[in-house]
Amino acid sequence: MDPKADNALDHPLVVVNLGLKGFAESLERQGVEVVQVDWIPPAGGDAEMQELLDELL
């Protein structure tokens, strides 16, 4: 791999937080740009079916 490939180690973090809101708040307190997503499971809550759909689409 190319260790110089850009990633978050090289730039200020900009975060999408999926799940527990406290984690986004902790980042905000550190001055990090963050957007909170109150994540909900895909319809039916069936992870395998969702994965199949994602593969197909």
Binding site: P3, N7, H11, V14, N17, V37, D54
Partner: protein
């Protein structure tokens, strides 16, 4: 005993919200147990174990809410379940909600995002993480219970796309000075760290901080990264990154045991690293690279000390400084009865539990545990402690349907009292891990149980010696000094490193007067 439940289809809530509702319902008098859970397969098994089962629970999915109540009287069960909607509404009213519900929503709102942080149930991680990688994001995956095959596939994709996947089951990282997960507030500096062990990384970074140095990046890899199934993909990528990072001058890896093939690959890579390297791989026998350039450390504090020395700093970490005069082991043992021969350890940090077992076993002690180094020493989930027993309170059994003991100390409180009143016990060893997103007062959560346990002992049973390691800094949200003071006021002997605390236990149990180092005074 009466039992009842309701299923609310398509009502998904996160675990912290559910805990809040659970606590609200459990306060009702006469209630023995409540469970407020999403109906994942794992949670359905848990419900069945506490005697709650039914066709509609079996048919429910992971986005269906189940609320179960066990109480002394059927009228109480009915009353609690009837009040459920009010409890839900109250909890929702204090929780500001976002209109964004999917990764795609988040990316539309923040097109410049370069990292996704996931705390969603493990069974749902793969599709969301894959989408994030395909959108060019790095990942921090706190979620546990992600199938290892999913982890391998995600990390292979990440490697192809030059992205980092920290996790799954990743408790801590520090990236560009930003603490993720439970990370402690440590200063920035020139020592880089990598590790599948969250609490191991926390202790390492705190000890570097106490020594006056700082951390460039600390990259958590997830607890399974060094298994042969995953092959250390993130650890090796992180090593590439830290080697190329101009800020990083010394690299340390803090790990629990690795798969044999992965360990060999990792050692080969570490030997080829262009920067000084410290390696602490707990559970390993003597490293097979004598004469190589890697500095091997047997314990986490020894790794911190080695990294600081490699950096050319004369200061040694606080954990190894000479300590103020304190009661000698003889003075402490004089407060014990002859039957006080055992120690018990109750840990929030899995790696710390592991390291303590390693130190005690190397001294020839047999140590029972729910997470034993030797399967022969396994203590089953419903078994009471025997002999020397160290319990990882963050294991799957103890955290099923509950928050991790670093966030919620309630389960540890109960066990502290139970262990304290056992007349065969001389030492109770505890760990306290401060940091972002951890409990606002890890010590305060359990201190009354420590005091109650000591008081509940019969005087003829001798005095219980309580020893603690505390991991944190003065800049953590919990305030290290205040937490230490609470412990000391309760007569607890406090160390900054788990290895030092455990070695002191060993000296006490063996009656060894040597050393002269005591716990750290305030």
């Amino acid at each position: 005993m009466a039992t009842g439940y309701v299923v609310r289809p398509n009502r998904y809530f996160d675990s912290v919200f559910l805990m809040g509702v659970n606590q609200r319902l459990a306060r009702v008098e006469g209630v023995r147990q409540t469970a407020v859970l999403m109906a994942s397969e794992q949670n359905k098994r848990l419900l069945s174990e506490i005697g709650v089962d039914g066709a509609d629970i079996r048919a429910a999915d992971a986005d269906d809410l189940v609320v179960a109540v066990v109480a002394e009287d059927p009228a109480i069960v009915s009353s609690v379940l009837a009040g459920l909607d009010e409890a839900l509404t109250t909890a929702m009213s204090v929780t500001a909600t976002s209109d964004l519900h999917t990764l795609e929503d988040g990316l539309r709102a923040k097109p410049s995002a370069n990292m996704a942080l996931l705390t969603i149930p493990g069974g749902f991680v793969y599709p969301e993480a894959r989408k994030a990688l395909e959108a060019g994001l790095d990942l921090f995956v706190f979620s546990s219970n992600v199938p290892v095959e999913d982890e391998r596939r995600l990390k292979e994709l990440a490697r192809d796309r030059h992205r980092l996947v920290m996790g799954p089951d990743c408790g801590t990282s520090i990236v560009n000075g930003v603490g993720l997960g439970f990370a402690n507030a440590v200063r920035r500096g020139t020592i880089g760290a990598i590790g599948p062990s969250g609490t191991g990384l926390q202790e390492f970074t705190c000890l570097v901080h106490h020594a006056g140095l700082g951390i460039s990046h600390a990259i958590g890899t997830g607890s399974h990264d060094l298994s042969d199934e995953v092959g250390g993909i993130t650890s090796l990528m992180a090593l590439d990154k830290l080697e190329a990072d101009p800020r990083t001058e010394v690299i340390a890896i803090i790990a629990k045991p690795a798969g044999p093939a992965t360990r060999a690959r990792l050692v080969e890579r570490l030997e080829a690293c262009g920067k000084p390297v410290v390696a602490c791989v707990l559970g390993s026998t003597a490293p097979g690279s004598a004469g190589g350039k890697i500095v091997w450390a047997k314990t986490i504090d020894a790794a911190a000390e080695a990294a600081v020395r490699l950096r050319g700093n004369r200061e040694t970490p606080a954990a190894t400084k000479p300590l103020p005069a304190l009661p000698s082991t003889a003075q402490i043992r004089a407060t014990w009865t002859p039957s006080q021969k055992n120690m018990r350890g109750l840990f929030a940090g899995g790696t710390l539990c592991y390291q303590s077992q390693q130190i005690l076993r190397e001294a020839g002690m047999v140590v029972h545990s729910n997470a034993p180094l030797d399967p022969a020493d396994l203590l089953g989930p419903y078994e009471v402690s025997r002999g020397h027993t160290l319990i990882d309170m963050g294991d799957e059994f103890h955290t099923l349907g509950r928050l991790h003991p670093m966030i919620d100390g309630s389960l540890r409180r109960q066990r502290i009292v139970a262990e304290s009143v056992d007349p065969s016990v001389g030492i109770l060893l505890l760990d306290f891990i401060l940091g972002r997103n951890a409990s606002p007062s890890p010590v305060g959560d359990v201190l009354d149980a420590v005091v109650e346990g000591q008081r509940a002992r019969s005087k003829s049973d001798g005095r219980l010696t309580v020893i603690a390691s505390i991991c944190g800094t003065e800049d953590d949200p919990q305030d290290l000094k205040q937490q230490e003071d609470l412990l000391r006021q309760a007569g607890v002997l406090v160390f900054h490193s788990n290895a030092r605390a455990t070695s002191f236990c060993l000296e006490l149990l063996s009656g060894d007067e040597g050393g002269g180092d005591g716990p750290e005074g305030g």
